[in-house]
């Protein structure tokens, strides 16, 4: 008998907890490892305190089949770590240790993730006290010893207008031997605040999980609540959400290419793209009044309609912007001095990308075909997205070029969506959520795959809400990309990933 529960997933799914068999840990472990050795990857792994011990849930994706595999087991104070055999769960296990005080035995890199107060009382595996808040960055950083080896520490407050994080470089001269990234400074306790919900404040907290991915996280959350409530939203809702998601992608990708150009000192593209990014944000504001899409996506639908006049305005403005964007970007990708800095810098191999479980732009730049839009299309199953953008070199150029090609693809997608906007209601009333169920929702944000999982209690309230932002997987890739690079290339490599601190910290 196959011990796992397999579901086909479109945009969201809901399974009664009773239908999810609880496996012995050894069976859980073997199934997970077998699946990962085959064609699956881990999209989420999290805990939820059960009767005695901690319930563990794993969600694996078999991308090509459009299937999800759900696994469930229960552990006590410790369990044998899966990380040595399956590195992509390394952060999930550290997270479990930090939140619930369970020890993944044999984890090779067992350090705190976000430096927050424990979620359950009792002994901390790092010996930190219950009555004191942990100190961020208080852990043993990996060190390289030796003559002429030096350590560079940066942050949490950085030189630009950016979020806080701490970086430790182990350098030999200019060469970086190892980079360790310690985050948690932006930890606002979102998952804990969502418990007992959905609360009136929940949607706002999700919209602000990562501000640049407002539409993405709000869509993932809404899909989850809709599937737990057993509601199907209209095709028009799906279309408006899809347009907003592509606008979000455009604004961020264009901004990123501008920033990459700026980091190698190619100012024309940096300046043009800085302006164009704002223009794309203004298109989103045209739709809903907010440049970041605040207030647009709500469980059950969207809050603003795209009337024909507005759709026409968007089409016309997008046409002008598309031409200007192409001009600005091609300038940079035509310039040998820029390409010389992009090509071969910050390389991540496809094997490493696969082992670390990368998603989104970073994964597609390494040749991995991972795009939720492809495998889990919206609405009635009719897909309009069939060609994910794939590059194979895994370097700064590849990550830039994925963005460049996705920008052009997004222009086409929005244009088509605007032309054939389905009729229908834009908002449906939501009944109560199904009690004792597990809901899953995936959404391709501009950075990559957003995974939201919710478990409801007997009253249909959210007992556990788990968010996986693409940055959660991908920060490790930045550390890998820096190995053997010059420390002065860090800003360029960092920008080529442009990962979220707050999306990781939650």
């Amino acid at each position: 008998m196959n011990p796992s529960r397999v579901i086909r997933l479109r945009h969201g799914a809901c399974v009664p907890l009773a239908e999810l068999p609880r496996l012995e840990f050894s069976s859980f472990r073997n199934t997970l490892l077998d699946e990962v050795a085959g064609e699956a990857r881990v999209v989420s792994l999290f805990g939820h305190p059960g009767g005695e011990g901690l319930d563990l849930y794993a969600v694996l994706a078999r991308d090509w089949k459009g299937e999800l595999v759900l696994l469930h087991t229960r552990v006590k104070e410790s369990f044998p770590s899966l990380t040595p055999e399956c590195p992509q769960v390394h952060l999930f296990e550290r997270e479990l240790a930090e939140q619930y005080g369970v020890r993944p035995q044999g984890h090779p890199w067992l350090k705190p993730v976000r430096f927050h107060q424990r979620w359950v009382k009792g002994a901390d595996i790092w010996g930190r006290r219950d009555d004191e808040h942990p100190i961020p960055g208080d852990m043993d950083f990996y060190r390289v010893e030796g003559e002429e080896v030096h350590e560079v520490a940066v942050g949490p407050v950085h030189a630009g207008v950016i979020e806080p994080g701490h970086f430790r470089f182990q350098c030999h001269g200019e060469e970086v031997m190892h980079l360790e990234i310690s985050l948690g400074y932006q930890h606002r306790g979102i998952e804990q605040m969502l418990r007992g919900g959905p609360h009136p404040a929940s949607i706002y907290q999700l919209e602000a999980a990562a501000g640049d991915t407002t539409i993405g996280h709000a869509t993932a959350y809404s899909q989850l609540i809709e599937s737990l409530a057993g509601v199907k939203v209209s095709l028009r809702t799906h279309a408006i959400r899809a347009i907003a998601l592509e606008l979000e992608r455009l604004a961020n990708h264009v901004g990123d290419i501008g920033a990459l150009a700026g980091d190698v000192g190619f100012l024309p593209t940096a300046s043009f793209c800085g302006r164009l990014r704002g223009d794309y944000l203004n298109l989103t504001a045209e739709l809903c009044g907010s440049r970041f899409g605040r207030g647009l996506v709500r469980p059950g639908g969207v809050q603003f309609d795209l009337d024909p006049a507005r759709a026409e305005t968007l089409t016309q403005r997008l046409k002008v912007l598309a031409a200007e964007t192409r001009g600005a970007i091609e300038l940079c990708f035509d310039s040998p001095s820029v390409l010389a800095r992009f090509e071969g810098t910050g390389r991540v191999t496809a094997d490493d990308a696969e082992a670390l479980g990368l998603v989104g732009v970073a994964a597609r730049a390494c040749g991995l075909v991972r795009d939720v839009r492809l495998h889990r299309n919206f609405g009635n199953g009719e897909t309009r997205f069939d060609t994910p953008v794939i590059e194979t070199d895994g370097d700064v150029f590849a990550r830039g070029n994925v963005r460049r090609r996705e920008i052009y693809a997004s222009h086409r997608l929005i244009d088509e969506d605007l032309k054939r906007l389905p009729a229908g209601e834009i908002r449906t009333a939501l009944p109560a959520l199904a009690p004792e169920s597990l809901g899953i929702s995936l959404c391709e944000g501009w950075r990559g795959e957003l995974v939201h999982v919710g478990i409801t209690d007997a009253q249909g309230r959210l007992a556990r809400y788990k968010i996986v932002d693409p940055s959660f997987h991908n920060w490790s890739a930045l550390a890998m990309a820096l190995r053997g690079e010059q420390i002065s290339d860090f800003p360029l490599c960092n920008k080529s990933f442009n990962l979220s601190y707050c999306g990781f910290d939650l």
Binding site: H116, Q117, H187, M193, G211, R277, A285, F292, E324, G327
Partner: protein, 250 residues
Amino acid sequence: MLNIVRERLRQGHRTGTFPKEAPKLPERFRGLPTIAQNLTPAECAEVAAACPFAALGCSDSQLQIDLGRCLFCADCPAAARGALTFSGDYRLAVRKREDLLLEDKAHRLADKLDKRMRKLFGRSLKLRQVSAGGCNACEADLNVLGTLVFDLGRFGIQFVASPRHADGLIVTGAVTENMKGALLETYAAVPEPKLVIASGACAIAGGPFRDSPEAHNGIGDLLPVDLYIPGCPPHPYTALDGLLRLLGRL
């Protein structure tokens, strides 16, 4: 090279005409609310209780809105009752926390700094930005001020890399427990006299993360604030307007 020049001509001159001309914002933009007093005391209390962030209140059964807590959201329970409408007015920044409490009186916009401070900072203001537990949208829209559309530099205002080079801090985020120490140390590293600007609902009052066990409700209890810029996130023109008012340039 020729291509660069050609593209430069095609992209054109894009710097906005602000502050000479008011910017044109999208029709659905939600700015300064106007309050219509059409609620009974019971309705007023009901509406106030429905705001998840306690931005709405009643004093003598008169509806009040705290722009510091308000996210300018599209689901406002008072707006749904017609007791409040969001205008397109982006000018929101004030000098005092109590000025953010809006009733039906006129909104009191930020006063300029005193003469001595204007002499010091009026023509050149260097700010160190500290991001302390928000969502990065505030930071993103402050960054936008550096683009050629807003061109913050032409007003003599600049974001600098070190607190030692700065005349003040512009803080975003609700101040997480994990950023409190770094924020206070950065403040201490700015030479006197110094300014503190709270940008966004999080920095003013905790925003969507109000009363989180892992965060403070903004910087109000931690630092003396000279300018409050409301919004979630504030529109770049809201921030620019506030900065220019502070310097007496508007």
